[in-house]
């Protein structure tokens, strides 16, 4: 049951880490560099969730950290604080008291994490099996890409179209769902930094906590 939103998150993360992907089709544009094992990517995001029938979008902002070793932290700071951690053992929400609640576990979650790892290593295969990937235009240094789920793929029932654009880093991802809802995620301030992770992020991962 959690597969649907796993796809959404997978795609988000895939684009968030887009700089890590060597893209032949982007030969004329800025090329993202892979994240090494001893590096991590961090930046800020703005998520505008447009819901059909609701007047205004649900707007949130925050920062994210993506580590090849540990996983992804999605930390919302506005309008309410909240943390979601994606790692091999599952997806967890972490409240202000540090209480972790599992949102998803099991095989699909593992596949999802595997997908992130594949993306981090510059392998498009995990998304290619679910999406038809096509470049739109590349007249400027920015690249544009459309992902259309294959009709019989499990992503097909959850997603209608995904578009993304960026340069050396991904800048914006738009996810359009069959319900006519759409999420627009804008990334900013992305940098690749060497490990170790800052303590406040490192402690959010289960293996970081163990240490």
């Amino acid at each position: 049951m959690i597969r649907g939103f796993l796809i959404l998150i997978t795609v988000c993360v895939a684009f968030a880490s887009f700089l890590a992907m060597p893209q032949p089709l982007l030969a004329e544009t800025a090329k993202p560099s892979p994240i090494a094992e001893n590096e991590y990517l961090r930046g800020t995001f703005e998520l505008a969730r447009h819901l059909n029938g609701f007047e205004k979008p649900l707007l949130s902002r925050g920062e994210f950290v993506l580590s090849p070793q540990h996983g992804l932290i999605w930390k919302t700071t506005f309008p309410f604080p909240g943390v979601t951690v994606f790692e091999e053992g599952g997806i967890f929400s972490v409240d202000q008291n540090g209480q972790r609640d599992a949102m998803a576990k099991g095989n699909e979650t593992r596949q999802f994490v595997t997908m992130i790892s594949s993306v981090l290593s510059g392998n498009w295969n995990p998304l290619e099996s679910q999406f038809n990937i096509s470049e739109s235009t590349a007249k400027t240094k920015e690249w544009n890409i459309n992902l259309t789920p294959y009709p019989n793929s499990f992503a097909g029932s959850q997603i209608e179209l995904i578009t993304a654009q960026g340069n050396a880093f991904v800048q914006e991802v738009v996810i359009i769902k069959p319900s006519s809802d759409q999420d627009i995620i804008t990334f900013d301030g992305q940098t690749i930094e060497p490990v170790p992770l800052p303590t406040e992020f490192n402690d959010l991962f289960s293996d970081g906590r163990a240490k």
Binding site: M1, N107, S180
Partner: protein, 769 residues
């Protein structure tokens, strides 16, 4: 004579054609499913479904499921192999569907559509507990977090139906109640993946099942050959059933070949001609044909067990043929050979028919079918002896036949043991009295688990799969009774709460019930009230601000989710209902005593173990067989007294009765459990024992005494070859039947001779010369 033979041959051919036509056109079905016939009693007047019906439904459902576990050190490679193997398995004839880990995920939308309109009344245990204990704010905080989390499954539509996002937790809770199972687990750097295969409804038993299992074994072997690091294990009723059936078949085939050869050699050594063998085959064959024809006329479906036992019973008709064949042509004109034996033969047939008629009075269709088959078969065999055997040229017993010589020496030895009539009578009375005492004293043992011999590898596989994935194992369930569906749902919810500590303590691996998918209306209403009072009234205003849309309080009078609606969307839910009963499916129960103790408090809920229920069913069958045996013994005693007078009558009667006694005691000493099947073997002992003693009693005049004795001796050897060899089988059920029959037949032969033979110093009336 020729005309009679022609008419009778025509009758046999018509019966054979009819039986073949009925079976070939499936007007009469041949049912090999063990579960399909048991429990289908003739007097099903009760409104409430019987436990055996519920068990049949449950096991038929479970019987269609097979679990294959793959393990490999490389997770990704394992999933690739699983996908390829699933495709191969899907191509095997008999496979209905295959489920790999995660395959159910695409049903999320269906569930969401089903539950969405009723979301306010569907709470997970944890959420309900939070609201009951005034922790509504934690749920509100969770709602806020979910709204802004990138891993949120909601859509605008579900948000309108369920603003506090309660349904995802309800669905997660539902998954937890199922427990682990359909997922990949990793232990010690090795991943284990379950493939759950469902067989087509008509393909999980009989030859179709054998073919399917062979296909699966080939596929697994091929996968293993392609990657030797791949390990496989499999479990499911179908694997055990096919394995045991194959073992039994192999044993019985070997024994049948030896027995047939033995009988052929014995007849050959006796007559030095194939003609008597042809005569014997004709007689037994006509019996089988008539039995099959009678069953196809009277029943829409014939069970395999009835066919096997019926055919075994008809096997005794070879005695009829031998009794006729040993009479030499030179002593009497051909036309009167039958006349010399017709009394003994007729009485033997009458006794057997009475015996099987008593069996037919039981309310059990299985026993009725066996009785009908046997009665029709024996009558037909009798007719064949009368009408067909006289047409076969007579071949006298060879003078120097080794069988005859052996018989001669055996008789000389036996004569030494013969005692005066008074002592014979005393012994006969003791045997007659001891029989019912033994029946009462020797306990029955009807546990079906002792009937087969499970393959060690399959048992090991089942254990490994159960320990690794929590799948498989022996099925147990709790039966919930109640006049209305809502009452049953409420009982089910109360039972679940009561056994929750056992689940937490690991004594029960998992429980799933209809009430998990569709809570009772009472619980839904209570949930809705809790949501309204503890969540909406306190937090709808701030949530409304966040969503920038007004929220409406839940309406307690709005419709609630009903089971019928859920079953339409989730057809599998029918697995939790059996007519007017609901069943709670249990998994991995390690403490049955604790579970039973918990259920004592519930009048309408009880633990059902299919093994126990089926064993009890067979205990009932054994009970009915004992009653039938008792009735026929009483009738036989009365007939014997009427025919031979009190003294001789009791002696004659004591031969089959004593044979049963010997078989009972001998079997008990040998450790043979007295089950329904061994009791049926006692029936056979009675029928053959009655034949022996009647043949000897009726053919005991000076002229034919030696021939009759030889005929009975030949019958004993043939029966020992046919049935006694079964005792050597590795399958407990087959071996038990063989042991009982072997002991019983030797006892019957000895007593038949001993009770009908006179000492040199006594007359038939027992007076001293």
């Amino acid at each position: 004579m020729i005309r009679s033979a022609f008419v009778w041959t025509t009758c046999i051919l018509v019966m054979a054609a009819f039986a073949v036509w009925q079976l070939a056109t499936e007007r009469t079905e041949l049912d090999a499913d063990f579960l399909s016939l048991i429990g289908q009693e003739q007097d099903q007047q009760q409104d409430e479904i019987s436990d055996i019906d519920a068990v049949r439904t449950l096991l038929a459902d479970s019987g269609r499921q097979a679990i294959i576990m793959l393990s490999h050190p490389d997770y990704d490679h394992l999933t690739d192999i699983a996908r390829q193997l699933a495709e191969t398995l899907n191509r095997i004839d008999g496979t209905a569907s295959i489920m790999l880990p995660g395959d159910n995920a695409d049903r999320f939308d269906n569930l969401r559509a089903l539950y969405g309109p009723y979301a306010n009344g569907l709470l997970s245990d944890a959420d309900r507990d939070a609201l009951k204990n005034g922790r509504g704010e934690s749920l509100y905080q969770r709602t806020i977090q979910t709204l802004y989390s990138p891993a949120s499954p909601f859509t605008s539509a579900t948000l309108k139906q369920d603003p506090f996002q309660l349904m995802p937790d309800f669905l997660s809770g539902l998954g937890n109640k199922f427990g682990t199972g359909n997922d990949i687990v990793t232990i010690n750097e090795r991943s284990y993946l379950p493939i759950i295969v469902t067989l087509q409804a008509n393909k999980y038993s009989g030859t179709a099942a054998t073919s399917w299992v062979n296909g699966v074994n080939d596929a697994l072997a091929e996968a293993h050959n392609s990657d030797p690091t791949l390990q496989t294990a499999k479990t499911g009723q179908v694997f055990f059933a096919v394995n045991e059936a194959e073992n039994a078949k192999k044993d019985v085939q070997t024994i049948a070949v030896i027995a047939t050869l033995g009988i052929a050699i014995m007849i050959g050594l006796t007559f030095f001609s194939p003609l008597p063998m042809i005569g014997a085959v004709l007689v037994v064959g006509s019996g089988l044909v008539a039995g099959a024809a009678a069953l196809t006329i009277l029943f829409d479906a014939i069970h395999a067990i009835a066919l096997v036992f019926g055919a075994t019973m008809i096997g005794i008709s070879i005695d009829y043929a031998l009794h006729y064949l040993v009479i030499p042509a030179s002593s009497t004109p051909t036309s009167s050979r039958f006349g010399k034996i017709h009394k003994g033969l007729g009485l033997g047939l009458l006794t057997s028919v009475i015996g099987f008629s008593a069996l037919a009075l039981s309310p059990t269709i299985l026993l009725v079918q066996i009785a009908v088959y046997s009665i029709a078969g024996l009558i037909s065999a009798y007719c064949s002896v009368k009408f067909l055997l006289p047409l076969i040229p007579n071949r006298p017993v060879w003078k120097n036949s080794p069988v005859r010589i052996a018989h001669h020496w055996v008789m000389r030895l036996m004569m030494v043991l013969v005692l005066p009539r008074k002592i014979q009578l005393l012994v006969a009375i003791i045997l007659t009295v001891a029989l019912p005492i033994s029946v009462i004293s020797i306990p029955g043992h009807d546990d079906v688990r002792t009937l087969g011999q499970s393959d060690e590898e399959l048992v090991s596989d089942a254990r490994v799969i159960s320990e690794t994935l929590g799948l498989g194992g022996s099925p147990l369930f709790i039966r919930i009774d109640g006049p209305t569906v809502q009452q049953r749902l409420e009982t089910s919810e109360t039972v679940r709460n009561a056994i929750a500590p056992l689940v937490s303590a690991g004594k029960i691996g998992g429980v799933v019930a209809l009430s998990d998918f569709v809570p009772s209306t009472a619980l839904q209403e209570d949930n809705r009230r809790l949501v309204r009072d503890e969540l909406y009234q306190a937090f709808s205003a701030p949530l409304s601000d966040v969503l920038q849309t007004p929220l409406q309080l839940p309406n307690l009078d709005a419709p609630y989710l009903l089971p019928d609606q859920a079953i339409t969307s989730i057809p599998e839910l029918t697995r939790f209902q059996t007519n007017t009963s609901d069943i709670m499916r249990l998994r991995d129960v390690s403490d049955i005593s604790a579970l039973n103790a918990t259920l004592i408090a519930f009048e309408n809920a009880r633990l059902i173990s299919p093994t126990v229920i089926i064993s009890n069913q067979f205990a009932d069958y054994r009970y009915w067989t004992y009653i039938a045996l008792g009735v026929v013994l009483v009738i036989a005693l009365l007939l014997a007294i009427l025919r031979y007078g009190p003294g001789r009558g009791i002696r004659v009667f004591s031969a089959p009765a004593g044979a049963i006694l010997f078989a009972l005691i001998g079997g008990h000493i040998q450790g043979v459990p007295i089950s329904f099947f061994t009791t049926m073997a006692l029936f056979l002992v009675f029928a053959i024992g009655a034949d022996y003693v009647l043949f000897l009693s009726e053919g005991n005049d000076i002229e034919h005494r030696d021939h009759t004795r030889l005929a009975v001796f030949l019958s004993l050897i043939s029966s020992i070859l046919a049935f006694g060899l079964l005792a050597t089988s590795s399958v407990p059920l087959v071996s038990d039947i063989g042991t009982i029959i072997a002991i019983g037949l030797v006892g019957a032969w000895f007593l038949a001779f001993w009770m009908t033979e006179t000492t040199k110093n006594t007359t038939d009336t027992g007076n001293t010369n």
